[in-house]
Structures are given as C-alpha cells and as structure tokens.
C-alpha cells in the first residue's frame, strides 16, 4: 500500500523550501472541518465507478476523462477515505438532477455555493490534481494513498515551460533558451 503517515515531527523536519507548500496545505479545506460532522452530507450508497468518472469530468473537465485513472481514484477512496464516496454520491446525484456536466455549468450553478457540495468538489479536484487521496479530505496532512505522480493534473498547466520534477525536458541548458517562448506568451493578452 502506498500509504504513509506524515507525523508532526516529519513536518518540522521537512526542508526549508518544501515546508512551505505543506504549510499552505494545512489550511487546505479550512472552515469545512465541521461541516461534514454537522450535516447529513452523504448519500446512503457510495458513488459508483461509472458515476465517479462522470462526476470527475463534470467537475474538472476533459482532463479528467481518463477511465483507468478515475477507477484508481475510486478504489483508493474506497480504501483510504470511504465516506468521501458517500459525499461524492450526493454531489453526483445533485449534479445529474440539475443537468450539470461541465465545470463552467457547475460553478455558475447554486450547487457550487453550497459549502458541503463545494468542499466535496474541492476534495475530488485535490485528488486529481495532487495525485493522492487523503485519509481525511479536509486535512491533506493526515497521509493517505498515492494514486498518481506523473498524471497528477497539477503539472499540466505549466507543461510547456517546466518539467514534472525528476523527468527530463530537453538537452542540457534548455532552461537558458526559453526567453523568447516565455516572453511571447507572457505578453499575449
């Protein structure tokens, strides 16, 4: 199992540049901690793999149209954070009922204003973007299960300039030859 507990000592040990990203994540879903406890937030049955796939596309867009990866997330949620599948089921049902199939439609709808549904959408998005499922989807620090590294969606938005760390991009010195490319797109409207 690619499961790992990150304890308090570990965090303090994390090197200087790294700790920042984690410090940011501590407040990952701040404010939603108690929501799930206070409200009846989930459905009775976990979301199916089919529905999670459709829900992922509806919340994230075409970049989440990857059935094997969606199924891997489904399995990981089932193992590491099964209650999320209940919340996802509720979100899925409500979006279906409202006929929402794209991120634009979801964010323009009243559903996106609902704190619980919004938090569920964030939880799902976090999994796809960070490539892992947290044991507890309002605390990214509690460890969880790894699903993807290379295919985590956080890398794609900068893929034309940077690398997925540890992978190569081009010949040595590629980094010194990007000026024209960067200045061309950063000046574009």
């Amino acid at each position: 199992m690619a499961t790992q507990k990150v304890g308090a000592e570990d965090r303090s040990a994390i090197s200087r540049r790294a700790f920042l990203s984690v410090a940011m994540a501590a407040s990952f879903l701040a404010g939603t901690q108690n929501l799930f406890a206070q409200q009846q937030t989930g459905s009775e049955t976990p979301v199916s793999a089919d529905d999670l796939h459709a829900l992922s596309i509806a919340v994230i867009g075409k970049t989440a149209d990857d059935r094997p990866l969606s199924d891997a997330f489904h399995k990981a949620f089932g193992e590491a954070n099964p209650s999320f599948l209940l919340r996802a089921s509720a979100l899925s049902a409500q979006m279906k009922a409202a006929g929402l199939t794209t991120p634009a439609a979801f964010s323009a709808s009243p559903l996106a204003k609902d704190p619980v549904l919004h938090a569920t959408a964030i939880g799902l998005t976090a999994a796809w973007y960070l490539g892992h499922v947290a044991h507890d989807d309002h605390d990214d620090h509690g460890g969880g299960q790894v699903v993807a590294y290379e295919k985590a969606l956080m890398w794609a938005p900068t893929a034309d300039v940077t690398v997925i760390p540890s992978y190569s991009r081009g010949a040595p010195n590629y980094w010194a030859e990007q000026t024209a490319q960067i200045e061309a797109h950063s000046k574009a409207p």
Partner: protein, 459 residues
Amino acid sequence: MVFPMKTMIGGFAAGLLFALPAMSQDQDQVARGKYVATAADCVACHTAPGGKPFAGGLPFKTPMGTIYAPNITPDPATGIGNWTDAQFLRALHDGIGANGERLYPAFPYTAFAGISDEDALAVKAYLFSLPPSVQKNHENEMQFPYNIRFLMSFWNILNFKNSGSQSVAQQADLARGAYLADALGHCAECHSPRNLTMGVDSSKYLGGGAVDGWTAFNLSSSKGEGLGGWTTAELAQYLKTGNVAGKAQAAGPMAEVVENSTSHLSDDDLNALATFIKAVPEQAASGPDRFSFGGHPTDITGYRADAGQHASEGEQLFVAACATCHMLSGSGVKDGAYPSLFHNSVTGASNPDNLVMAVLHGVERRGSINDASMPAFEDEFDDRQVASLVNYVKDMFGNPQGKVDAAEVHRLRLNQLAPSPIDTLMKVGGGIAAAVVIIALAAFFWFRRRSTSASPQPL
C-alpha cells in the same frame, strides 16, 4: 600608443608575406594530413583514455593476447620522430615496422595499404607538426606462438591482399567513397566478420562484426539487420551527427568514430562515403528492419496505483531509471536529446549486446549538434537486473527476439571476448599443435599462391 602599434603590425605583416610561400605549402600538407588522419581516425587507437593524443598506450584485447598501440608523436626516442618517409610508408602499406619487424594487424595496414603516398606523407607531416610526447611504448603481451612476429608473414599470406581498396564497385563516382571507407576509414575492420585466423573475412564484406563487446552492425544493403532501409542522406547525417531520429544513435566505439572522425568530414566526403556504403551488396538478409519496431507505452496508471509492487523487475527499473529521460512512452524528448527507444536500431536488433553495453557503460558522444551523455549503470544494476531491464525494453519497444541472460551480461560487463574458433582450437589441441596447424596452412597457401601468381604484390 597608436603609432608603435601600427609599426608593429606593419612589421609583422611584412614578415608574414615574406614567409608565406614556403609556409603555405607546408601548411597545406599539414592541413591535408590532419584531415586524412581524422578520416582514418588515427587518434582513436593511438591515444590511451585520458592520455596525450597520439602518444599510444591503448590496449587491444585479442584472443592471442594484448597489444598496445605505440606512440606516434614525433618524439625521437619513444615516438616516430626518427622515421623516414620510406619507413612511414612501409609501415602503413606493408605492415612492417621501422626495424623491419612484422606489425600485428591490430594496426590495420591491410586497409591503409590503399592510402595514396601523397595522403600518407601528409599524415606524417601532420604528426610531425604536433608536439612530441615522451611516452615509452608498452610491451605487447602476446601468447606463444603469436609473440613470434615473423609468423605474421604467414598471416599476411592468408589475409593481406594489398590490392588497394576492396571496393565492391569501381565506378568513378564511388571511388572516393571506397577510398574513404576502405583505405582511410577501415570500416571493415570492425564491420566485417573475422575468419579463423582473425583476418577480415572479405567474403562477408561489411556483413557485421564486433569490437570491445559492442556489435558492429551489418552495413551492407540487406534489409533487416543491414542498412537496406536507410537513405543515403540519413546515413550521411548519422556519420555527421551520430543521430538520426527514428533510426539510430551512435554509442560505444561508433560514437568515438563519429566524434573523432566522421563528424569532421566535408559534406562531399560524407555523401561519397554514404553513397558507397549504400552500394555494398547484401549480406545475409534477415527479418524486419531494426528501426521498424514500434513502442508500447508503460501503463503508469496501473503502476502507480500500487507503487509498482506488481510490476516486473524490468518494468520497475525502466520506470525508475530509463523513463526519466526516455519518457514512459519510450518516445524520448522532443528535441531528440534523449532518443526514442522504439524505431531504434539498437532495441530493434535481434542481438541484445549493444543495448546491454549502453546500459552498463552509458553513452558519451560529443558532436557537432549537441553532446550525448547517458550515465553508466554498471555500478547500480547487477547482471540479473540488466538482463531484466534489457528484455523489458526489447519487449516494449524493440525486437522481442534475442533475449539476454545474466551470464551474457556478466561476460559483456567484464568485456570477456566471446570464445573464438581459434580459442577452441587452442584449448583442444594445445598451443603448439595450433601453431603447427597455422604454419602448415599458411605454407600450403603460400605455395599455392606462388604457383598461381606470377606478379609480385602491388604496393
């Protein structure tokens, strides 16, 4: 400050003009010699790793013992500084050293016999223009009976035609290419198989050979293992850069050839060389073209979902070590700095040796476009791991035929020579017996030749 400077430049220019005619001729010859020496890649054998250029010392492991390349810098005591033109020509053309001793054919005089006197003396002029390096030659370590240099004259009878270029076609437009390939480049020394007495088997000209554990592929126009599927332009590009995307990248000794020799040839010469090689008749056609195999991307989704725990060892090593630069799809990177593993003549070869060698020893090739540098994994992977990885890469991206096992990896790791026929002969019959057989054979050919050939061998 301006005035004295002008005077100085004027004085210098006058001196230059005065000296120009005489110097120019010498300089032309030196420049020509440098080009010829580059085409013949003298530096490759006459320089030890990390040693001074042309000062010798590089060992050649043969089944008969180890030979060390000599110092050919103009140092009079340890190099060739005292050699006359005639001695130089005799060495190149006849394989006879300054003191009349027979040279071992690790020095490819069988090829250099075809070099024109003018080019040969230009090489001498170039070598003599270099700074002398004082470096004593390393004694050869030849086993009996091969330590008797005289025996080489029998070897010559068997293997030394000394008829100039062994070119397959003599049309004028191919003559330059033949000269570059045979006399200067001595391609056949590595790219033709060897016969029983370790001579170049001219009946299988450029049909593929081996050097230092690396396979020197079939360069004939065979489809499959040969170059039948290549265009002349691609071949010229390969010789210039060591890299033809979708076909092949030079590694090992061929990377050195490209780096030291062919990348410095003129475009005309490259074209002539490529045209000539493309005209070499087929040798043993076989199977699909080496570069024709497509790739199957790694299923990284399935892999990461259980942290690679169910992946094979080969896949784990590929993902962790190779995919970093060659990508999970095996496609390499866009700018071609790390090549595709599919449509690749090494992964597509049925013989896995070069893939094993690249994994063990890495790749280093400095070129006119960019440098290629792949780390060596010999300290990181054991024999079994190399075999697992190579077999995985062949399955996913290349020719699934010709798998390798740990024992073969071990042999390549130690650069142990594959057992040769002569080795077997030595083991079976003992050294003396083998020598007797060789001498008898040689004598037989000697007398036969004498009886059929009236004219002496051409220079």
